[in-house]
């Protein structure tokens, strides 16, 4: 039987549950169907509400907050259009396994299903894009749904959850504040026991002559950086990471070969071809990395993951272990032999020397790659970097190195343009003492540019770097390489004046277009704690290399030097 206490409203209870849970910041936007909740939020002294300019901004801020702090990110929206504006963010969080709790207002229960004003079946809409969702039908169910939702969001492979909260349930009185029994099974939130044969798994690794670790975002969610480093150093095993795994292993470590995949380093992709054993740690053999049937085809393939649905999904493996990555590695490391691998490590060092990341830096124009190298040096690699999606994202992934996890925020799975700016704001709220830089493009930044107002309103010192080539750069790159330079709708000549736009929000800005201006610009950009906009004009024809064309494998990688030889760089 539920414990009974004095009756309070559903909205009051929801706020108290958030407080008890330790949520101290929520990102949201009010509206009719969520007003009782906002009224209770108004009275809360523990929860700070960040008012955004668009609900998509709210959920990406919650994502940036969650990914940079490791905590649950919470966002609030009203019913109908407010709720549907969360859909992209929920999908983003599902694909990148980010723990998000979205609370949406809903029309009163007696109006549900009648096409009432601002009604949308957000429960139905979000079924495929949440880990858990519920339409709360009675205030007596709030406590249970809240507990189930938060446990599921953070448990196992993390993900987004949504609670749809009808207006009359918000005002309904309840005395049920705690639940004795959850309806969901504990397997959805408890750490699973290690599944699989550790000994044969370790034996296969010990037999390998040229092993490679392939680290994904799951390593960051499992907080397994320390163990990965221990494993790599003990066995002298080189490490490559996916876009989502960046930071799980220090980018400057001698054993790091950087990112692999479509725009990974040449040495990482060559390492995949040359290795005789590849161990996937919390990655999902994504299609930007692994072509089924051709990925590390000569190697023994092994996989450790918390999600059994990832095993043999796209690429079949020879050995697998199920469980929390940190726990599994702790159990595995003692069984792994301490080996020096001078030949293999030396071979990769030579590859790094002979196939470095390259670009043509001979002109006075600013090359984004060179600029990012300078930014990395000037910020001492200490910043939290968020990106949008496109060329700038890949350049940032290649040229800004990270020593730690949770410093790199990017939309990996869904590839959401408009993610970068709100994610940076969310990260800054979670990490007020750290430098937070949003790296964006002239296309991406305009997808959620209204959040400049949120920066101005809360005086958040987010640094916004915009690479401007008056093009959708990545679209242009594909059109140039695969569509005979038919630049269908990728060029735009009507960008706003980003510097003036910043000024309109009291954010200082600067535009540069010549290499000689870089040092001064970076000083201006990073000099104090205030927000800045730095617009860097770059050549439209600049491309991201190396590149593995979509659907091809590591064998088909195009390097910068290949294009120079072919006379078209």
């Amino acid at each position: 039987m539920p414990k009974t206490e004095a009756k309070i409203s559903g909205a009051r209870l929801m706020v108290e549950l958030l407080e008890e849970y330790g949520v101290d910041i929520v990102f949201g936007y009010p509206g009719g169907a969520i007003l009782p909740f906002y009224d209770e939020l108004y009275k809360s002294t523990k929860i700070k509400h960040i008012l955004v300019r668009h609900e998509q901004g709210a959920i990406h801020m919650a994502e940036g907050y969650a990914r940079s702090t490791g905590k649950l990110g919470v966002c609030i929206a009203t019913s109908g259009p407010g709720a549907t504006n969360l859909v992209t963010g929920l999908t983003d969080a599902k694909l990148d396994s980010v723990p998000i709790l979205a609370i949406t207002g809903q029309v009163a229960t007696n109006a549900i299903g009648t096409d009432a004003f601002q009604e949308a079946d957000i429960y139905g809409i979000t079924i495929p894009i949440t880990k858990y969702n519920a339409l709360i039908k009675s205030a007596d169910d709030i406590a249970r749904h809240f507990q189930e939702a938060t446990l599921v969001a953070l448990g196992g492979r993390p993900g987004p959850v949504l609670l749809d909260f009808p207006k009359d349930v918000q005002t309904e009185l309840t005395s049920v504040r705690k639940v004795d029994k959850l309806k969901i099974d504990s397997r959805h939130y408890q750490k699973p026991p290690i599944g699989g044969d550790l000994d044969s798994f370790a034996a296969a690794l010990n037999k390998a002559k040229r092993p490679l670790l392939y680290v994904g975002g799951g390593a960051i969610n499992a907080n397994a950086s320390k163990e990965i480093r221990e494993l790599a150093e003990k066995g002298n095993i080189p490490v490559t990471t996916t876009l989502m795994g960046i930071g799980a292993f220090p980018g400057t470590h001698q054993l790091s070969v950087g990112m692999l995949g479509m725009h990974g380093t040449a040495y990482a992709n060559k390492a995949v071809l040359e290795c005789d054993y590849i161990l996937n740690l919390g990655a999902r053999f994504d299609d930007r990395v692994a072509k089924p049937g051709e990925f590390a085809e000569n190697a023994i393939r092994a996989h450790i993951d918390i999600d059994t649905a990832e095993f043999n999904k796209r690429v079949s493996v020879d050995y697998l272990l199920h469980g929390d990555l940190k726990e599994v590695l702790k159990a595995l490391i003692p069984k792994v032999n301490k080996v020096d691998r001078p030949d293999w490590v030396g071979f990769l060092d030579t590859l790094k020397k002979n196939h470095p990341l390259e670009f043509d830096d001979s002109s006075d124009t600013i090359k984004p790659q060179g600029f990012l190298q300078k930014l990395y040096e000037k910020s001492k690699g200490k910043a939290i970097v968020s990106t949008d999606v496109g060329q700038h994202q890949m350049w940032a992934a290649q040229y800004y190195l990270f020593e730690e996890a949770n410093r790199w925020l990017t939309s990996g799975g869904l590839g959401t343009m408009g993610y970068g700016l709100p994610a940076a704001i969310g990260a800054k709220f979670g990490n007020p003492d750290k430098t937070v830089i949003c790296v964006s493009g002239d296309g991406s930044i305009q997808m959620n540019i209204q959040e400049l107002a949120t920066i101005a309103m809360y005086k958040k010192g987010v640094k916004i770097l915009i690479f401007n080539n008056n093009f959708l750069g990545m679209v242009r790159q594909w059109q140039e390489l695969f569509y005979e330079e038919r630049f269908s709708e990728s060029e735009w000549n009507y960008n706003p004046d980003f510097v003036k736009l910043g000024e309109a929000y009291s954010i200082k800005g600067l535009r540069i277009s010549n290499k000689s201006e870089i040092d001064k610009a970076l000083e201006f950009f990073l000099e104090d704690e205030d927000a800045r906009i730095l617009e860097v004009m770059i050549p439209a024809e600049e491309k991201v290399f190396p590149m593995i064309p979509a659907g091809k494998s590591q064998k088909d990688m195009i390097e910068f030097s290949d294009t120079v030889r072919a006379g078209k760089k």
Partner: protein, 159 residues
């Protein structure tokens, strides 16, 4: 290859959408789906029949187990389960063939549920093969309407 998935789920609204949505996402055609409550009123039993290669069905099974409302999933092999399907068929009858149809129904142990001057509604239950066979026999008299439940299944306890 045909698979019979027996899925135990929490008995509340929306669960059906969650489950069937997983099949839709993989553009899987569900051959039949039947849902009924179990001895525990809080829990329902879903039986889904799908065609697909083993590895993909295995994927769907693992994805299903990730849904908080799914309690258990079992892939029943055809040979070790009892499966039944109920079908109601309306066939045209004439005076000349009425006794013939009735005697076929007797052979199949099908029940005549309704009879008019021109039609007969027959109720038949059996496994999919038997149902197909029975329908084939009825075909020649002219089937006017069909209602099928989809398969339900349980594992044999004897072995």
């Amino acid at each position: 290859m045909k698979h019979i998935l027996k899925i135990l789920v929490n008995n509340h609204p929306g669960v059906m959408s969650h489950v069937s949505g997983l099949f839709t996402r993989r553009s899987y055609n569900i051959d039949s789906i039947a849902v009924g409550v179990t001895q525990d009123p809080e829990i329902s039993n879903m039986v889904i029949v799908v065609k697909g290669d083993d590895s993909v069905v295995e994927q769907v099974k693992r994805q299903l187990l990730k849904l908080p409302d799914v309690i258990d999933v079992e892939d029943l092999a055809y040979h070790d389960c009892i499966s039944r399907e109920l079908v109601l068929v309306v066939v045209k009858v004439e005076d000349s063939n009425r006794t013939e149809i009735i005697s076929i129904c007797e052979v199949f142990q099908a029940k005549i549920a309704d009879l008019t001057k021109t039609t007969m509604t027959v109720e038949f239950s059996g496994n999919t093969r038997q149902v197909e066979h029975f329908m084939e026999m009825m075909q020649k008299y002219g089937i006017q309407e069909i209602a099928r439940t989809g398969q339900i299944a349980l594992k044999y306890r004897s072995n």
